[in-house]
Symmetry: C2
Subunit: 480 residues, 2 copies
């Protein structure tokens, strides 16, 4: 019997349209530098260009691609522009994009080993590679007591770590009977918002998250941590979790892991280390001192989707004791039972994350590592750090500006000496120009500009041009 009409795109059509999209992306790579970095559309403008009703009949692919150009592109803030210095980078690269394409084309689910063994095994393997490349403690490797998995983000990683900590502290009673409002968690005042979010999601309560004071370099004060834990323990509460950061978002502050880790070990708290952006620096031996003490951590994450040329989402999440994680997150309904799982010889990553389903994200990370080699990745990380240090030097020599803190890596926090209003005016003028995009933080209560250098193609001329524009904008400020 003949199949009735099909609306599917045929493989031949896919070849043709696929080439058009590949070309579109290649063209985008070539021209992105010329586009205003921060989108200039007003709220509602993109939607106003879209038909209010969905199409009843299919449309030619060419029409869709034309609308990408007409409707979507003006509404894009160009994270892949070499003039993007905002937030932290979310850099990407050709091999990563093609790994994502291949993953979409294979369309497999990696929830169980059995649902696509290569999806699980390549992930385990590449995360062991990453542990080796960044010289992580041996417990974090699959050959040790722990291992790694790819999470969507550092937020997801923090939530999983916190839940594992919660269960370890309560001997699984929280999973069984619920939280009791007496578990406490700790992070510095500089920690990422994802820690607060995890504390709320996991039912600990924001009031049970202690924000520990930071020192003049925005690093957690371990003596303040110890005091807070002791106070809570004396009050009959159950301290269970500390989140330390290697490279905070506001200032790249570096929490002292050895001192924090010692406290956690002594008092039996779970130490999670968030190295979301800075973790990539551990590729280079000269930056590894920033990660000393990581052997005291129970979990750790960093994001190749920030600074390692791997498009979002790709967070490498490691635990030192995989049983603690799996105990906290496992579920096993009948419809997922299978011989491989029951043999115990395989990893089922559904028990390492919030969701059941998962894409084949290891492909893009594998493509990136093989394309660049460790040598190439190191080269570009060093280059970004060198550019940031050079930029910091220019700020030091310019009397109207000051550094908010000495930059340890590739984020330079600086400000105009004219106060918050001057810095806000500078920020607005620079971002409105379209020539670059910077964001801000508050450090010591003062509005501070953040020059975050990590986009794949950012080179010296982009950083130089940015500094020229910043100085010219300061000149304008003086005149107005």
């Amino acid at each position: 019997m003949e199949e009735p009409k099909s609306y599917h795109m045929t493989p031949e059509e896919f070849r043709r349209h696929g080439r058009a999209v590949v070309d579109w992306v290649a063209d985008y790579m070539e021209r992105v530098e010329s586009l205003p970095v921060l989108s200039r559309v007003r709220p509602g403008e993109v939607r106003s260009m879209l038909p209010s009703d969905p199409p009843e009949h299919g449309e030619p692919f060419e029409a869709v691609l034309a609308d990408v150009e007409r409707v979507i592109l003006p509404g894009i803030t160009h994270w892949q522009s070499p003039n993007f210095f905002a937030f932290f980078p979310a850099n990407a690269s050709g091999p990563s994009i093609l790994g994502e394409l291949l993953s979409a084309g294979l369309g497999v689910q990696g929830m169980l080993w059995a649902t696509s063994p290569a999806c699980t095994e390549l992930e385990t393997h590449v995360l062991d590679w990453m542990a080796q490349m960044t010289e992580l403690p041996s417990a974090f490797r699959s050959t040790g007591t722990g291992g790694g998995a790819i999470q969507d983000s550092a937020s997801g990683a923090a939530l999983c770590a916190l839940v594992a900590a919660r269960e370890r502290a309560t001997a699984s009673a929280s999973n069984e009977r619920g939280c009791d409002g007496r578990l406490t968690a700790y992070a510095s005042t500089q920690a990422h918002s994802s820690i607060e979010k995890a504390v709320k999601l996991a039912g600990l309560g924001r009031a049970n998250l202690r924000l520990i004071a930071a020192d003049e370099r925005f690093a957690m004060r371990p003596e303040a941590l110890e005091e807070a834990i002791a106070r809570d323990a004396a009050a009959g509460l159950t301290p269970c979790f500390v989140a330390a950061t290697v490279g905070t978002t506001s200032s790249n502050g570096m929490d002292p892991l050895p001192a924090i880790g010692e406290i956690c070990k002594r008092r039996g708290l779970w130490l999670h280390v968030d190295g979301a952006m800075a973790g990539t620096a551990a590729l280079c031996p000269e930056f590894r001192p920033l990660f000393r003490g990581l052997e005291l951590a129970d979990s750790y994450c960093f994001n190749p989707h920030k600074w390692m040329f791997t498009n979002f989402d790709c967070d490498c999440f490691y635990v030192a004791d995989r049983r603690a994680l799996i105990t906290a997150l496992s579920i096993l309904p009948e419809y997922l039972r299978n011989a491989a799982t029951e043999s115990g010889a395989v990893i089922d990553y559904r028990d390492w994350q919030v969701s059941l389903g998962r894409r084949f994200r290891a492909l893009k990370l594998w493509f990136v590592i093989r394309h660049y080699g460790v040598e190439g990745l190191r080269h570009h990380v060093r280059r970004h750090v060198a550019l940031a240090q050079e930029f910091a030097g220019w700020v030091r020599e310019e009397p109207r500006f000051e550094l908010a803190v000495e930059p340890p890596l590739n984020l330079v926090c600086f400000r105009h000496r004219g106060g918050d209003a001057a810095n806000q005016a500078l920020l607005d003028a620079l971002n409105e120009s379209g020539a670059l995009y910077l964001t801000h933080a508050k450090l010591d209560g003062k509005l501070t500009l953040r020059m975050s250098i990590g986009q794949t193609h950012t080179g010296r001329r982009h950083v130089e041009a940015a500094w020229g524009r910043i100085r010219r904008a300061a000149d304008e400020l003086g005149r107005s």
Copy 2:
């Protein structure tokens, strides 16, 4: 000053390698039917083909692609084979894959409206389209009190819904002071494991999830739900959340939403409806009666990444009251403050999900809707349902087999009359043949085979061939 050496893939190289990957995927589409559906590798076999050390130097892209063929492909279980009848489908299509490619190429972050307005506005728009296409209650549209967002999965959606329910029931006290072990949640014995996982993650405790008895068609018994809620309320507990399912994983059971919704409204519980797979059926007016009562729900999700030709991840999550969700999930650190957010004129999707970061997933959904048109999507959904119904007819006429339940849509649950051992032997023989892939469930305590019809290219000849093999395997069973 000249830039030093670069290891990046140039746009011209990207064009060339991109064509090779597009061709690889097109070739894969053409040959996937000829590959054994369930991978035959043994645990560790994929890893054994990978070098133990990461490459120090970059490798040619051609070498990587050759390893995809040599190392990865044998370890793939082919979810995109038309002979894949396991679990629920995770179907994909050309336009969706190209939408994912474009999203990776643009590489934007959609955490805030300001970080790429088109990413947020296209998502809002396409989710309104989906609400219109499936005739969802008006409160779920962005023009109403609620709205939609794309989640990674139904697991993520359930967690967000549960946390919103928890906060509504406790006037935000759980977020503030933590859970108190007295909140209770409800789902049927047939609900997906993601509900139990959410209850554990959110700190309610598994013992506070009541699994409500199902009737002979595997639908939740509303009178049992009411009794359980009343019992808990009388015991001084705080019933807060009911998860109902349209199309359970084991059997496609359909919970009676009008009765459940009435109970939830009367008693002030949050009703979340999980239509992960079956939700796509609402594209067709004839299947919409299955969704009656949805206007009583506080939240709802379904997955175009299951049955609507959109590669994972793409879960459409809707809430009737967006304030309840945002109140539960919002965080606003200084470094994310911006004028657009503070104007209140825009949506910031970071407050609709667990993670902060998010990819531009609306692109692939937009591409799919525009490629197929509503007409094309309806056509293929109807075709899958018709094939399943035809298959069920064959089972009915075959004396050695029986239906476990009448199939409402595209999942047929059936079994050999010879008991569990016979069905296990059948399942193993069929899956080992490589010609098709089926999974199982336990229904009424009996091992049951699931014929789940929804892969993009599954046509009558695949279903016929599967039935032929099933009968021949039963013949073999008789002889052995």
